[in-house]
């Protein structure tokens, strides 16, 4: 089936486009319409909003709630968790806004898990010293996303264009001027002319083979912005979640460990004790053992695996997450989805047997560099959520800070974009012609004659996965990263020569869309590899095995900024981190960490 002809462009005017219907995008759209009800807002998303990846988040969202907690402590945990690569002013603003935002979600109907007296319940999460994580059983992201989506139904000023695949941002002399893409069902091009856009397209975890992310998390939003000279910040920092299912990568939430689950190696030993996270008792001790931060836990797995102390499963080596001591009642009440996932996908009942788990890529700490209000260096373009780097995660994100981030910065970006949408002059008529020119290469992909020797999408994708797992993994060295850079450059060149598509029709052509995604993913993978190579130290999630095994505050207490040229490799620069009150010091967890915290 072939495309007859390049279909006509539809041009639609509006005030503000929100790209992405996940937690960040929906929160931004709601904030914008509440701030200015007269705005004509269009929310586009390549999937219906409630299918967005936020839906898969399990564990919870962080905000100071308990009497024994404080903004100061949330700040400290976040900044030390991010190994001082966080922008501290951003963290200060963030922790102060979290409680208000989670309460707002409660008012919109989010079914938070409750204490007997009706107050919101909180649980422990890795790297957090207090029970600070609000949760809705183990389906927190699902409930948050549906609450936001359902609330958005009350605001008809938010027009949705579901299953719209954004391919380009258009820019004129005043800054952002339009959002261009494909109506997936018909395959027709559509241009939304607007003066402001909020990018909320999520992370890029799918550049790796073994990941916890949904299929849509391919990262093209970041690449779209990068094409207009917006810097991508700290892209070398990729989080491995320590507990995912071998093979599928399906996540087993940190909430399991927050509830008291323990990790055992093949010898039945709680091996984290051997990695500076002990002592074992008293237990549970926050910021220790299984409640240590994710980078440390994933790195510990790597060492155990090297030492041959992991178990072998059909889908790769693993350690064991033991929940048996929690008992059937607590499992059913607090971790129902995890119990179901284990039963369904592994045939294991966590009541009676431990779950095999291993690390998998989980979260993109880096992203489009933004200010506190979500603004980027491109006037009119705002970014929020996992695609953005507002500066709160540093070198390692703490679990449950991300869902809170979607709300805090989604709202900030929505409000700022609402102001911008009114103030800038309307984009001109010339934009449509430019849009047509931008669409041409995408449609050319469909017209190209099928060439047998061209690689399939899956072939290039698998090669990208292999390059990233090999060279830019939990531990890295110069040789491996250089190898990845080279492999990715080769793959990008092969991609430019054309991919073989079986499907050259217009209607709901997912093969074509995944080919477009792949081009962006390859570019981001290359950025990650180059940024990693350029960071000659070890910090947080970026750990090297070569000459740069230690943290180097004198040389590398800096953000990396990647500037993308069209076809070539990115240019990497470094820029200072904004510190306010926390001075970098040794990052210690477990008993030693507690002593430091008490000083």
């Amino acid at each position: 089936m072939t495309a007859q002809r390049h279909p006509d462009l539809r041009v639609i005017d509006c005030d503000l486009v929100v790209i992405g219907g996940g937690g960040a995008g929906l929160r931004a759209a709601l904030a914008a319409t509440v701030a200015d009800p007269s705005l004509d807002i269009v929310l586009v998303s390549k999937v219906v909003p409630m299918r967005s990846h936020t839906v898969a988040a399990e564990g919870g969202a962080a905000a100071v709630l308990r009497e024994d907690d404080s903004f100061e402590q949330h700040f400290e945990d976040t900044v030390s968790g991010g190994e001082w690569l966080c922008d501290q002013a951003a963290v200060e603003a963030f922790v102060a806004a979290c409680p208000r935002e989670l309460a707002q979600l409660e008012r919109w109907g989010c079914p938070w898990s409750r204490r007997d007296d009706g107050r919101v319940q909180t649980r422990f999460f890795g790297g957090m010293r207090v029970q600070r994580t609000w949760f809705a059983a183990d389906r927190t992201g699902f409930h948050m996303l549906h609450t936001l989506f359902q609330t958005s139904l009350r605001y008809p000023a938010i027009r949705r264009h579901d299953e719209f695949f954004c391919t380009n941002l258009l820019v004129d002399e005043h800054g952002l001027a339009g959002v261009l893409g494909i109506d997936i069902a018909t395959g027709h091009p559509v241009l939304y002319r607007a003066r402001a856009a909020v990018l909320a397209t999520g992370g890029a975890g799918r550049v790796y083979a073994h990941n916890t992310n949904a299929g849509i998390v391919t990262g093209e939003g970041m690449a779209l912005a990068a094409r207009h000279g917006v810097a991508l910040r700290d892209m070398e920092f990729v989080q491995w979640h320590p507990t995912a299912l071998p093979g599928s990568g399906i996540l087993i939430t940190e909430g399991c460990r927050g509830e008291g689950g323990v990790l055992l190696n093949a010898e039945g030993r709680r091996y984290l004790e051997d990695y500076g996270l002990g002592p074992l008792e008293p237990w549970p001790r926050p910021r220790a053992m299984e409640l240590g931060p994710r980078d440390r836990l994933s790195q510990a797995f790597w060492h155990e695996d090297r030492a041959g102390r992991t178990i072998t499963t059909a889908q790769g080596n693993a350690v064991l997450l033991d929940l048996r001591h929690l008992g059937p009642r607590r499992l059913a009440e607090r971790l129902p989805m995890i119990s179901e996932v284990a039963r369904r996908f592994l045939g294991i009942d966590p009541v009676t047997a431990p779950i095999p788990v291993r690390p998998a890529v989980h979260y993109t700490m880096g992203g489009v560099a933004t200010d506190l209000d979500g603004s980027t260096t491109l006037p009119g373009l705002y970014a929020a959520g996992e695609c953005a780097s507002a500066g709160i995660h540093g070198a390692n994100r703490l679990g449950s800070n991300s869902l809170a981030e979607l709300l805090v910065f989604g709202r900030a970006a929505g409000e700022a974009a609402a102001v911008r949408a009114r103030s800038a002059p309307r984009p001109g008529e010339a934009l449509a012609a430019e849009a047509r020119a931008c669409m041409a290469p995408w449609y050319a992909m469909l017209e190209a004659a099928p060439a047998a020797e061209r690689p399939r999408v899956a072939t290039l994708r698998n090669a990208m996965h292999a390059a990233m797992e090999d060279g830019v993994g939990i531990y890295r060295d110069a040789e491996g990263m250089a190898r990845a850079c080279e492999a990715l450059a080769g793959l990008r060149a092969a991609y430019r020569d054309g991919v073989a598509l079986d499907d050259r029709s217009l209607a709901f052509n997912t093969e074509w869309l995944s080919a477009i995604e792949l081009g962006h993913s390859l570019q981001l993978a290359e950025v990650m590899a180059h940024a990693a190579l350029a960071r000659r130290e070890s910090r947080g999630a970026h750990q090297r095995l070569d000459a740069w095994r230690a943290r180097d505050d004198a040389g590398f207490l800096v953000h990396s900024l990647a500037w993308c040229a069209a076809d070539g490799p990115p240019r990497i620069e470094h820029a200072p981190v904004k510190l306010t009150r926390s001075v970098p010091r040794e990052r210690v967890y477990g008993g030693a960490g507690e002593r430091v915290a008490l000083d």
Binding site: M1, V47, V48, M50, R51, S52, H53, V55, A56, P99, R100, L102, A103, Q104, E106, R107, W108, G109, P111, W112, S113, R114, D116, D117, G118, R119, V120, R139, F142, H143, H146, Q150, T151, L153, D162, A185, A214, G215, I216, G247, S248, I250, L251, A314, V341, R344, F345, L346, R456, V457, A458, L501, D502, D503, S505, A507, F508, N509, T510, E511
Partner: protein
């Protein structure tokens, strides 16, 4: 690798450019017992026929994208294991009762449009500017928790012949979400939802086939949600009749 067993998957396909009704196409492929049907479909797309079209995203039964008819029953393809479907052949079709856009991709717009009609959102009762979370006991949460688990996968619509016969029917999931919000102690929207509930296309188009509840992958029990509301609808009707002016 080579000795991996194979299975036949027959897929019902359709394309708007093809001037013909849907047709069946069979694919034979290697499989593993612990592989999901979704992974098998992905294998077809990646290796055998890139034009096979279906939706998916989370691959863990939470995003609601991947519904299809498997051997005549509505299912999430990511939630079925090949081991349970072997030796096959497995017959995969688009979700019943919906217009087909292409292959396994159905047009879900109708149900999306029905969600606001059903008032599938919380209407905050008290002071909306409050910055503190309101209180709700675990027992109050339990009143609506089951109905709040809906992932909008639309399997229940494919199980409901009433929806197939009367497309105006709001249908199981929308009515379950109506009941979910009605039952929430924080909600003040019951009066707003009444009109949609009491209409024929509301609860009264339901004839209690009950199959929606059986196919729901999340245990939502839409049949209960709807039929409970029939009682409430009848009660309100009678009270309105007996006490004119009750309804402001």
């Amino acid at each position: 690798m080579s000795e991996r067993p194979t299975i036949v998957i027959e897929v019902r396909r359709w394309h708007p450019d093809a001037e013909q009704p849907p047709w069946w196409q069979a694919f034979e492929l290697p499989y593993r017992e612990d592989q999901s049907l979704l992974e098998a479909l992905q294998h077809i797309k990646d290796e055998l026929d890139g034009s096979l079209t279906f939706r998916w995203s989370c691959r863990m039964a939470i995003c609601g994208s991947c519904g299809c008819m498997v051997d005549g029953r509505p299912e999430l393809s990511c939630h079925l294991l090949m081991g349970d479907l072997a030796p096959g052949p497995v017959r995969v079709e688009p979700l019943a009762h919906f217009p087909v856009i292409r292959d396994l991709v159905i047009d879900q717009q109708d149900v999306l449009d029905k969600l606001p009609v059903a008032g599938a959102y919380l209407v905050p009762g008290d002071d909306t500017s409050a910055t503190e979370p309101s209180r709700q006991t675990p027992a109050q949460v339990a009143e609506y928790a089951q109905f709040a688990q809906c992932i909008n996968c639309l399997l229940c619509y494919s199980a409901c012949p009433q929806y197939g016969l009367k497309p105006d029917f709001l249908g199981p999931a929308a009515l379950a979400l109506m009941a979910r919000h009605d039952a929430d102690s924080r909600d003040a929207g019951q009066a707003e939802r009444r009109e949609a509930r009491d209409a024929t296309s509301g609860v009264w188009d339901c004839t209690l086939v009950g199959h929606c509840t059986e196919v729901c992958p999340q245990g939502v029990d839409p049949a209960r949600a709807i039929n409970r509301n029939k009682g409430a609808s009848a009660r309100d009707y009678l009270l309105d009749l007996l006490l004119p002016g009750r309804r402001r």
